[in-house]
Symmetry: C2
Subunit: 303 residues, 2 copies
């Protein structure tokens, strides 16, 4: 189900590129060389790509954000862009194999939200991964806060699109109003459409659900519980929970008569469609570069 | 597999009780009534039970701890004690049915670590649960920090005991040195012995494991990752992870050649045996009271 989106490769609109490239390069040194290569695609640096993206994000750039470069440099020339959830070692290896060198990842590179390499002191795995990225000359930029700030939320919309639920999206509304369906059918639909092998559920498989709150990723117990308290949906669908927070809250609420069910999809697989949609969103903005999605996938096997 | 441990019921050692009771009651008002009822078991308040427990905990009482009363009062007479992981609505109902009124729970009552009822403002489920506890006159005491401080760690030892692994426990050592076994056989043994229907694993099912670090519950990514960095066990067995921390760390480490596998048992079921063992530990200290374990169980169904 996860395919390498190569929609842009093969498209060569020489005329528009020629104009854009010439315009961009006339103002920089090395112009004679640049013009002689004007039939080539424009060269983008990592910073160029970031700037192109941020133009579309309300309020960007943010003063405080985790969306920083985790490896590589802003000035390096981009040979190809890969989008993914987690820039895993496998994703890095596949990126290098494709001769791409810029990974846009939704989640951390070094196993903690701030990507502090000293979160665990002298972490050998962090050091090995830094060396691997450097060996391949790969830049990694986190695209978390900004993508969630895009309207519509890039992750949320990507998931809705992949699930075939875009028509239920109302701008500014968290709640999806859908034709009633049994919880078990909603779960089966999500597993099939998003390609998720296993999920965890709290709820009656037969209960009818029409009012759905979908919050991929790990939004935290306080936000998840608040949304249920405010909206009382028939089902809350999330990526990851703290079991002692949201899961126990839902279990108790149901035991005292509340209806809200909980579906836990898994963190990586719950948000991956948002990074897949990023390809469609970004590709037209960077003609000549290939933007591809490599899913990082569910880290677990289930027994 | 989860049975109601009623080991104490039916044991009536009148003579020793008579002596103890008389001794305790001679110093308090109402002595004539007390002595006339000296054939009854000693009456314990909630505070009496807490004091009896804390006598065995190094450094207790702690200045800062989450182990506080979540409902009821220190002065109320105890009619029976229930131990559990999460004091769920079901556990509360079963406690009331048994006419017990003191729940000793390892984890929060109100869905956040500090049991702040205003963690989510005006939380209706919290208010309903408070009313339920009050209606049944049930006191809930959290027994988390203290039980982990007991030597051996009450949770860890209870799990080892139930898994039949006590012989591998070395005081002061986190690492269990065991006869080598395939990861898949270790997983199957844990599922069978601890009664866990489903687990999530990262690792090669066939890999041999002899050096095991077992950390039930949700110790947090920093601690979990630190333990792997320090000890490089063949397998780390935990209750709950942040997927973006420990799970991704293990996935990457393995992709770069490290051996450590990860088994995620689920939070409640991973620590429940420690609250079951609390029955054996506490019952002899409170003669005449029934101490029983009611498992809170896995909140999820798995699909």
């Amino acid at each position: 189900m996860h395919h390498f989106a190569e929609k842009a490769s093969g498209r060569r609109n020489f005329l528009s590129l020629l104009l854009k490239t010439a315009g961009a390069l006339l103002s920089v040194p090395g112009i004679s060389l640049a013009v002689s290569n004007a039939h080539r695609y424009r060269d983008y640096t990592v910073q160029d790509i970031i700037d192109i993206v941020l133009e579309e994000i309300p309020g960007a750039p943010f003063k405080e954000t985790v969306d920083t470069l985790k490896s590589g440099s802003a000035g390096q020339q981009v040979t190809g862009i890969v989008t993914t959830m987690f820039p895993t070692v496998s994703v890095i290896a596949e990126t290098a194999r494709r001769r791409a060198n810029f990974i846009i990842a939704h989640e951390p590179t070094f196993y903690n939200h701030l990507d502090d390499p000293q979160w665990v002191a002298n972490n050998q795995v962090v050091q090995q991964k830094q060396a691997l990225l450097q060996r391949h000359g790969i830049a990694v930029w986190r695209f978390h806060d900004y993508w969630h700030t895009h309207r519509p939320d890039g992750i949320g919309y990507g998931v809705l699109k992949k699930a075939g639920w875009e028509q239920y999206y109302q701008p500014g509304e968290r709640m999806l109003q859908m034709p009633p369906a049994a919880l078990k059918d909603i779960v089966a639909h999500l597993q099939r459409s998003l390609g998720i092998a296993h999920v965890r559920v709290i709820g009656d498989p037969a209960q009818q659900c029409a009012r759905i709150v979908l919050v991929p990723g790990a939004a935290g117990g306080k936000m998840q519980v608040s949304m249920v308290e405010q909206a009382h949906p028939d089902v809350l669908i999330v990526g990851e929970v703290h079991e002692w927070e949201t899961a126990e809250y839902i279990r108790d609420a149901r035991a005292m008569g509340a209806k809200t069910a909980l579906v836990v999809l898994g963190h990586a697989v719950s948000e991956e469609p948002g990074m897949e949609w990023l390809v469609d969103w970004l590709q037209p903005k960077v003609p000549g570069l290939t933007v591809a999605h490599i899913p990082s996938g569910d880290p677990f096997t289930w027994h």
